[in-house]
């Protein structure tokens, strides 16, 4: 039944509808593929076989009624371990949450469950989603299915590798600085970072609340659309979520104005990556698109702004891990303060500690104006860059990262060089606009993604353009 592993969501939907196979059969096929492949890929932190089979049986019952059912019904997926699923672990790859069992479903999970999706398990991430490679996971490093000596990207490396290794039909990940697009690019799959506010963050373990967004990682563009349709929209439990309804639309490449941000090709980009991205742009032009050079003048400040704002928000968000309410609790010492100090000191790994310290420093008296306030001002300028650029163009095409997947261990000793991998992905987040990564080509078998950036709440335009690009890039 291994041919089932090749099917996309809509192909599975047709097969389930026409009774060619059942959800239990599909789910079992994926579970046995996980058993076979995951010892090498290490995408999963937990596989919940019994639960998955129960959900598949439930889906088969819905399908058997003969009434119409959601395209995601009976389709097996993986969930990043930073998103809560009731009764399952939610470690966000941290020792401080090692034994934590989530008491509630994230809103995106409620929506997947209502659609009838099957959850295979929880996938790996950098600890508290802080990283670009899953090397900051307290439990394991996820390998790139295209070359297991290399990283899968991060922080949603587990979700991306699971899809690329055919260990899940689709995954839910989250993107704070590039955490969906980067692993999607490295693993040769499609990943969407939605507009800030289009998908509920309720149940997403918070890193930086002004940036965090949940989004899909899938085999192709159509699958992104099907998952995004289900998970997006207003949620009363997230005050920042918008009354947004996804409406499909057609935007032909013919006559489409594509902006090329010149700063994204300026320096530091691997020439091979540039060649692949430029070739994709040329193909769009040949298909009738008008290619326009645009400028996002504050691009070079993106990483600095990002790594002030994220640690500042993270230091506040991670204050909740105190050894009292949930998670690791070290009951040594004589008073409450000792519990805080020791639980946090032993529970957090290197990167969360580093970011908590930077955040505490930049928010502390005497430094606030120089760092945090300044970063917010430059963030305004970055946002303005995008607003101005979208007055001239429909979408923008850009690289996702300056290089393909690095070797495992290549960058772990230099946090700053890790941070610079976010150079083409984090400005999008600071502005709050949506962006997607699709495979554009390969260099020495390593996938390279093309980033398609859209205006606020124009996921429909991105997806329409991406599905045409998908065809001409094949």
């Amino acid at each position: 039944m291994s041919e089932l592993l090749d099917l996309t969501i809509s192909q599975l939907h047709e097969g389930l509808r026409d009774k060619k196979f059942s959800s239990v059969e599909v789910t079992k096929t994926y579970l046995s593929e996980i058993e076979k492949k995951d010892p090498a890929v290490e995408a999963y932190l937990a596989v919940t076989k019994d639960r998955a089979l129960e959900q598949a049986e439930a889906a088969d019952k819905i399908i058997a009624t003969g009434k119409s059912f959601d395209p995601l019904c009976g389709v097996p997926c993986s969930i990043k371990d930073s998103i809560t699923v009731k009764g399952m672990q939610a470690t966000t790859a941290s020792k401080i949450l090692e034994n934590y069992i989530a008491p509630y479903d994230a809103t995106v999970i409620t929506r997947l469950k209502n659609a009838g999706s099957v959850i295979l398990g929880k996938t790996n991430t950098d600890e508290f989603t802080m990283g670009i490679s899953t090397e900051n996971s307290a439990f394991k490093v996820t390998k790139n299915p295209h070359d297991i000596t290399r990283v899968a990207g991060g922080s949603s490396g587990g979700p991306a590798a699971a899809v690329a290794a055919r260990e899940a039909v689709f995954s839910l990940g989250s993107d704070t600085g590039g955490s969906i697009r980067l692993p999607a690019s490295f693993c040769g799959i499609v990943g969407l970072n939605p507009t800030y506010g289009s998908v509920s963050r309720y149940g997403a373990i918070a890193l930086a609340s002004s940036l965090d967004q949940i989004g899909p990682l899938t085999k192709n563009v159509e699958d992104v659309k099907l998952v995004f349709k289900v998970i997006s929209g207003k949620d009363p439990k997230d005050a920042q979520s918008h009354p947004y309804e996804f409406m499909e639309s057609d935007h032909s490449l013919k006559g489409l104005r594509i902006g090329i941000p010149k700063e994204y090709f300026a320096h530091g980009i691997d020439p091979e990556v540039e060649k692949i991205v430029r070739a994709a742009i040329l193909k769009a032009e040949k298909a009738g698109a008008e290619v326009v050079e645009v400028s996002l003048p504050h691009t070079e400040h993106g990483v600095a702004v990002y790594y002030i704002i994220v640690p500042a928000e993270a230091s506040a968000n991670l204050a909740r891990y105190d050894g009292i309410k949930y998670g690791l609790s070290v009951q040594e010492g004589s008073n409450l303060l000792d519990v805080y100090l020791k639980s946090r000191g032993r529970g957090f790994g290197k990167e969360p500690k580093r970011r908590i310290l930077i955040g505490t420093y930049t928010l502390s008296a005497g430094y606030y104006d120089a760092y945090y306030k300044k970063a917010q001002e430059v963030r305004n300028l970055i946002k303005k860059d995008f607003v101005e650029a979208f007055k001239k163009v429909d979408v923008m095409f850009a690289p996702v990262s300056p290089m393909p997947a690095p070797k495992i261990g290549e960058k772990t000793n230099d946090p700053l060089s890790m941070y610079l991998m976010d150079i083409y992905t984090c400005p999008v987040k600071l502005a709050g606009v949506p962006a997607l990564s699709i495979p554009a080509g390969t260099m020495d078998k390593l996938p390279v993604g093309l980033q398609i950036i859209g205006n606020y709440f124009e996921e429909n335009k991105i997806l329409s353009v991406a599905s045409q690009m998908e065809k001409i890039l094949q």
Partner: protein
């Protein structure tokens, strides 16, 4: 370079116990990261908020209890590592 005392002071503010080794490593890491942030110093402007499509302004809700899952309080207390009956236990504050 940020001093060792400064790292210790921030760690205490952040309620993080660090080993001697960690303090020295953080001194180095924090210094190089914060040095990099200096590139923002020369940037001018940005004091006005940029408004975009569908910006939310003061998203508020009615102050109503909307508890639908009756077991949630019990489930949340169950998650606490140290508890007794329906209470979370803590050590002496002082």
């Amino acid at each position: 370079m940020i001093s060792k005392q400064e790292v210790e002071r921030i760690a205490k503010l952040a309620r993080l116990e660090l080993t001697e080794e960690e303090i020295i490593k953080m001194q180095k890491d924090l210094s190089s990261i914060l040095d990099y942030m200096d590139i923002l110093k020369k940037v001018k402007g940005g004091k006005e908020t940029v408004h975009v499509k569908n910006d939310l302004v003061n998203a508020v809700r009615k102050d109503e209890v909307s508890m639908k899952e009756s077991h949630l309080p019990e489930d949340l207390i169950q998650a606490a590592p140290n508890k007794q009956d329906m209470y979370i236990k803590v050590k002496a504050v002082l």
